[in-house]
Subunit: 143 residues, 2 copies
């Protein structure tokens, strides 16, 4: 469904949503451990997200990563798309070029509606909404 990298990114961003703020930035090494993601790999991912303004970062002493208020408003799908590209989540499950509603591949009707529903959920759910869930114990964010 989505790549390993996207999973890592989601875990990282949610951890930041729950634990960081502009006043309390988090360094790579303190982020990599609790979410169980290889440190250097995570650094690359976050640098990428930083360039795309999906996470915030400050260099130097007292620096680190955090989510701004604006960052927190982003939807889950934006993180996924930033990492995996816009196409991956939309592509035909059999990777058939010509597959669409008028010309459906054989698996299309077995999957399409549900897939759209998932997409819709990912499209409407913001990071701070998920962070609230985690804080209130409705969901978890472990390794």
């Amino acid at each position: 469904m989505f790549s390993n990298s996207a999973k890592y990114a989601i875990k990282a961003v949610l951890y930041l949503a729950v634990n960081s703020s502009e006043e309390h930035k988090i360094m790579i090494k303190d982020l990599a451990k609790p979410i169980n993601v290889p440190r250097h790999y995570l650094a690359k991912l976050l640098q990428d997200l930083s360039k795309k303004h999906l996470v915030s970062s400050i260099k130097g002493p007292k620096g680190g990563f955090y989510l701004s208020a604006k960052n927190r408003k982003e939807k889950v799908i934006d993180i996924i798309n930033a990492v995996d590209g816009e196409e991956r989540m939309k592509a035909c499950l059999l990777s058939l070029e010509g597959c669409n509603a008028n010309n459906p591949c054989s698996l299309h009707h077995l999957i399409y509606d549900e897939r759209q529903a998932i997409l819709k959920n990912l499209n409407k759910t913001s990071l701070d909404h998920l962070a609230e869930h985690i804080k209130s114990g409705k969901s978890i964010l472990p390794l």
Copy 2:
């Protein structure tokens, strides 16, 4: 969702469901072309499926691959599981070990129901059912 290999396998098996029979076996090279899958890679996949009795094959001149009546009764999910393993389709989307209904990960409720519905569809749909769809023009099986 599922691997490239599983996509290839599904395309191949559906092609066989539509075009082959015990009286009309299909050689690897005549199968690889229309479904646009690398020939040698496809051979490996089919040999694997053959060992697991999901496709039928005969060696030697006049040999080739085909689907027996029994093969045609198999469900789509069986092909997928044979190629990707039983776990892949069931695993937590964030690959969290501890994720389950009692202890849901953050994306769990965004996806779970729809995912189950897809699984259910793949579990109840047989190859010959899909083949009928293709034959009657309700769906396509191109590259």
